[in-house]
């Protein structure tokens, strides 16, 4: 008998979603195999969170299909969503408790991960209202990682953190990725973060939410240095589809007139779309 298990993967085909009569997602296709990181970028309100909730099974898929044979998915929501009556340690251990892990073991594992995400021992005893916003989002991240998931769904988990902490948590995530065949689907507003962490980038546009561009990063994440990240981010930001999806005006270039890409962008300057959104601060590149 051939008992080779099917390779783990997450598959979305023609996924759409509507809240009441408003279509917010249309024709989403992607495939995420184990061991890969996929970043989902797009303007605010284009339906990224909705897509993640569909994948997590929190919303019923009514259009298209989502298939997943990952066994232990874990989510980090856009808001920390900590239980206000549990201290940080018990919040981290929530999923372990649900899985029936004994108290002593789950507390030990939760404390270990709490320290790994940069929380002090006495912070772990505090209730959520006594923690800063960044501490709360680290608790939420630890709550997901402590389960050792094979599919990690992240909704802007790093947006409340300073650069130093971000770098630390990127490293932690990389370590978790290296250890096991974990797949990550990650929403971010930060193109640089997407370039640093992911293997595939899906760019979404709004009304209705759809995928307008896909980029694959060939160099493995471990070998990407700052220089690579800056360069690829700049390239991404020069891409006309990306700019349009974020409502940025077509690129006007001042510094290097001999830059061919800039040249064409300059050629392409035409009347800005009426009602085009101004460049927003959400894009931190």
């Amino acid at each position: 008998m051939n008992t080779v298990p099917a390779p783990r993967r997450l598959l979305a085909r023609g996924v759409g979603h509507a809240y009441a009569l408003r279509t917010v997602l249309e024709g989403i296709d992607f495939e995420l195999p184990a061991g890969r990181v996929m970043a989902l970028v797009g303007p605010s309100g284009c339906g990224k969170t909705t897509l993640l909730h569909l994948v997590a099974g929190l919303l019923a898929v009514r259009e298209g299909r989502i298939e997943s044979n990952f066994s232990t998915p874990a989510s980090v929501f856009q808001q920390p969503r900590l239980l206000p009556w549990k201290n940080a340690l018990d919040n981290i251990a929530l999923g372990l408790k649900a899985a029936g892990v004994a108290r002593a073991e789950r507390e030990a594992r939760a404390a270990e991960l709490g320290v790994r995400v940069g929380l002090a021992a006495d912070d772990l005893q505090k209730f959520p209202h006594q923690l800063s916003g960044g501490m709360q989002s680290r608790v939420a991240l630890a709550r997901a990682l402590v389960l050792g998931p094979d599919l990690l769904l992240l909704d802007e988990p790093f947006s409340a953190l300073d650069v130093g902490l971000k770098a630390e948590l990127y490293a932690l995530l990389a370590e978790h990725l290296a250890g096991r065949e974990m797949a990550v689907l990650m929403i971010t507003h930060d193109l640089m973060e997407a370039v640093r962490l992911s293997d595939d980038i899906l760019v979404m546009a709004a009304s209705p939410g759809r995928v307008v561009a896909r980029f694959a990063l060939d160099r493995p994440a471990a070998r990407r240095d700052d220089d690579f990240v800056y360069r690829r981010t700049a390239e991404l930001l020069r891409d006309a589809t990306v700019r349009e999806s974020f409502g940025l005006p077509p690129q006007v270039c001042a510094q290097t007139p001999e830059d061919a890409a800039c040249e064409t962008a300059l050629q392409a300057v035409h009347t800005v779309r009426p009602g085009a959104a101004p460049a927003r601060g959400g894009l931190r590149c």
Binding site: L58, F77, A99
Partner: protein, 262 residues
Amino acid sequence: MNAAVRWLAGLPAYLWSGWGAVASLLLCLALWEWLAGFYGELILPDPRAALSTLAGLLAGGGAWSELGITARRALAGFVLALAAGSALGLAAGLSMTAAMMSRPVVTVLIGTPPIAWLVLALLWFGAGDGTPVFTVFVAAFPVIFVGAMQGARTVDGQLAELAAAYRLPARMRLTDVYLPHVLSYLFPAWITALGISWKVVVMAELLATSDGVGAALAVTRSHLDTAATLAWILAVVGTLLAVEYLLLEPLKRAVERWRSTT
């Protein structure tokens, strides 16, 4: 270990707030003493007279049994209201229709004066335990019902999603997500209802029964014994204060530690 440290750290503040309460009570006593000097023995005996009468009543043993009878009736009505109000209120909170339909009923229940219920209860139950217990129940029920309904209505949908995403089993959803939230609404409602029960039972006894603190008050009134009247009032208020500050308040602090803003 940590809990003990936190308790010790919080102790001075709690004691200090206790001194504040004692000080304001003593101020009231002083005011009473001053008014007593003004109006004279028959209208308003001074606190010492009332306290010594109370001490006499307690030493005689009769006061304890009257207080016991009153407490039994108040608790019976309160426990009935607690069970029915919590269960029905939670059920109503889970359904939008039920919540909307029960709202005017609750408003009517809260708006009807307890004395009106008492008269009805006298007609229905006559003199005996039934009348005070029923009156207490009707007065306390809507308060608890509203608290339970609010608690169930305001359960955070985001936390419910969290429970689903982290595959919490049904039992854990109840104990770790829903109950703590609902309790934070129920507990204050229970405390308010207990205070109401204790007040209403005395009123009901005054008109409906031949024993209990209320009946004793009726007797002192007919004897024009103001000192004894005040002694009974002290007994009732003192019991309520003791239960509230020695039992319920610390309990509430322990249960709602996660809420405190310190």
